[in-house]
């Protein structure tokens, strides 16, 4: 159901909802960027709509709400394990259409691939998703190429225009709260084109894995992992055991984000690393994003948010890499014919 209401009314509704939900949205953290006087836009708790950064794309995605950067799994003593408590409140998350598609990519890994992930599920089940529209494409976005520019799989859509708030609700609790508001059809803003257009090769022959194509990336990538950390669909983690005592019998086990670009990702206990070359790491990431994942789960993993291109300190463009790879695949096919 679509509604028109005011920011004051909406803030009051959120104040009420905040008794049961923590509200997360992209926020501007002034001066917290990589360099001095540069802001960072990332997810944080909000209490008022005015705190939400609607005008710009967030540097980091919403994924840290469902997959915290560092999450305690359980506490252990010599003979016992105690599962870490879930947050007492649920969560409401503001996010854009591409990210909402990203949620499905996370679901595939955490709810389907092998066992169900207890920690993800308990957060996921208590989270409501509020869509933020995109009036214009941002730099580096290629959602249209990935088919993620629209989504109706939301609990609500919300748009702020001055003092007016437009809401499309799929959530009974919100419908009830907005009962008195003017009803009106509300269609989410979405883009129809991006400056960046990406063509994905349907299959990449394995013979191209060793192509000199990747060497360029090997020379450029510094293995910082930023492209993975900002990505809403990268789901990798590593576990860490923390010991409170010298005898090593009591402590906690955490999981923290991991990146296939960063050193150590494939290292075995004895020290052997299966993918040391940074160009091969790029190949591995790219293939995961647009090819391997699809073979297993039916959709591409990448949702085209362009954050990896936004963040890479070495100006490596993932989008351009796919396009160049597509050209390489086509050229190789022609040569073989």
């Amino acid at each position: 159901m679509g509604y028109q209401t005011t920011t004051a009314k909406m803030n009051a509704i959120f104040a009420d909802l905040s008794k049961e939900y923590v509200i997360y949205a992209p926020k501007r953290y002034v001066g917290d960027g990589t360099f001095v006087h540069i802001d960072t836009i990332r997810y944080g708790e909000i209490t008022d709509l005015s705190e939400i950064e609607f005008a710009e794309k967030s540097n980091y995605s919403f994924k840290e709400v469902l997959l915290p950067i560092s999450e305690t799994l359980f506490y252990f003593t010599e003979n016992e394990m105690k599962e870490a408590d879930a947050p007492k409140k649920g969560a409401i998350v503001f996010l854009r259409s591409c990210d909402l598609h990203g949620l499905k990519r996370m679901d595939a890994i955490y709810l389907e691939n092998g066992a169900v992930d207890t920690y993800y599920k308990r957060l996921r089940d208590n989270t409501k998703f509020i869509l933020m529209g995109c009036e214009n494409s941002f730099e580096n976005c290629f959602c249209v190429s990935m088919g993620t520019q629209q989504s109706d799989d939301y609990d609500a859509y919300l748009k702020v225009a001055g003092e007016t708030v437009l809401v499309d609700s799929h959530w009974d609790v919100l419908d009830a709260a907005l009962a008195g508001a003017t009803q009106t059809p509300v269609i989410p803003d979405s883009v129809t084109a991006n400056d960046t257009v990406v063509t994905i090769p349907e299959t990449v022959p394995q013979t191209l894995f060793d192509s000199p194509f990747w060497e360029d990336y090997g020379n450029r990538c510094i293995a910082c992992g930023r492209c993975n950390f900002v990505c809403p669909t990268c789901t990798c983690f590593t576990m860490q055991d923390i010991f409170y005592t010298d005898n090593g019998k009591a402590g906690e086990r955490r999981r923290v984000w991991a990146s296939c670009h960063v050193d150590g990702y494939t290292d075995m206990a004895g020290g052997h690393a299966f993918r040391n070359d940074k160009g091969q790491r790029m190949r591995f990431k790219v293939m995961h994003k647009v090819n391997d994942y699809k073979r297993r789960f039916g959709t591409h993993m990448c949702i085209g948010c362009g954050r990896c291109d936004d963040v890479c300190p070495e100006y490596i463009s993932f989008a351009n890499c796919i396009n160049k790879l597509d050209a390489l695949v086509n050229d190789t096919a022609k040569e073989e014919n």
């Binding site: 001066g31 001095v36 950067i69 992992g225 990146s259």
Partner: protein, 322 residues
Amino acid sequence: MLDLNTKKIKKNAYRVTKVRGETASRVRVPGGLLTAELLPLIQNIAETYGNGKIHLTTRQGFEIPGIKYTDIDAVNALLQPIIEKLNINQEIPGKGYTSAGTRNISACIGSNVCPFATYNTTNFAKKMEQEIFPNDLHFKVSFTGCANDCIKTRMHDFGIIGMTEPQYEKERCMGCQACVKACKKKSVDALSVENYRIVRNTEKCVGCGECVINCPTRAWTRSPETYYRLVIMGRTGKRNPRLAEDFLVWATEDAIIKIIKNTYGFVTNYIDREAPGGKEHIGYIIDRTGFSEFKKWALDGVELDSRTIVKGPIYWGGIHYD
């Protein structure tokens, strides 16, 4: 038949050059950053009154050589819009630079461009300009964005090196150690790992911000306040060239401004009037009076932040030719 008061000319930022009859005009650019619109004005002076050449000085100014002493008034008129645009304190409008003792305040490019910078060096340089100019005493002050010290503050009487106090949000940390490696390889190895979390050795940390720059998840961010290391009494010259030593670490902007202004009082009080040209350099004055006397004057009425560390007594090294 030139009849000149060279003292007045020098004070007006013109040089008594080796070429008889010719002077050179020095155009100071506080903080070294100017709008491009001023360049044609400088070009015009060089082409109309100079020999068509411009020298870029070490202290971030333009030296326009080949000017006839007789054209000084005309040049001053052309300098006026430049002086105004650069917002330079001027006692008598239209008379050019009315004082040339305290040298141009120079600054590295800082946060305007440089990824390592911890603050806007130009802005602080301009602020300092407002506080200490015009002045006849020979002071060299410079600002640098970070501990790399590209402007070489350690060769100045007062060098201001930016510092940030890294803020650590442990819940955003993955223990990837990008910060630890950066600090070890590019800075002072002040970070270590304990239970997959990072511990900063606050004694060792120089506030360069390498950890902040290299953290991929914003676990490290900069403190809202900028801090500074104030290094003092570096110099070049014939007798005892030497690098400046730390005076304050984790100092604030206000403290630094007040200390430098206090030092003008100290120099005025102790300067050797018999020195050649009545000029004695601060460093040599402190060598005479002793560090503790300087410190008493410098810190008079200065409010120090709880974080600020005051060093001393300071012993300078350098090469002694005297």
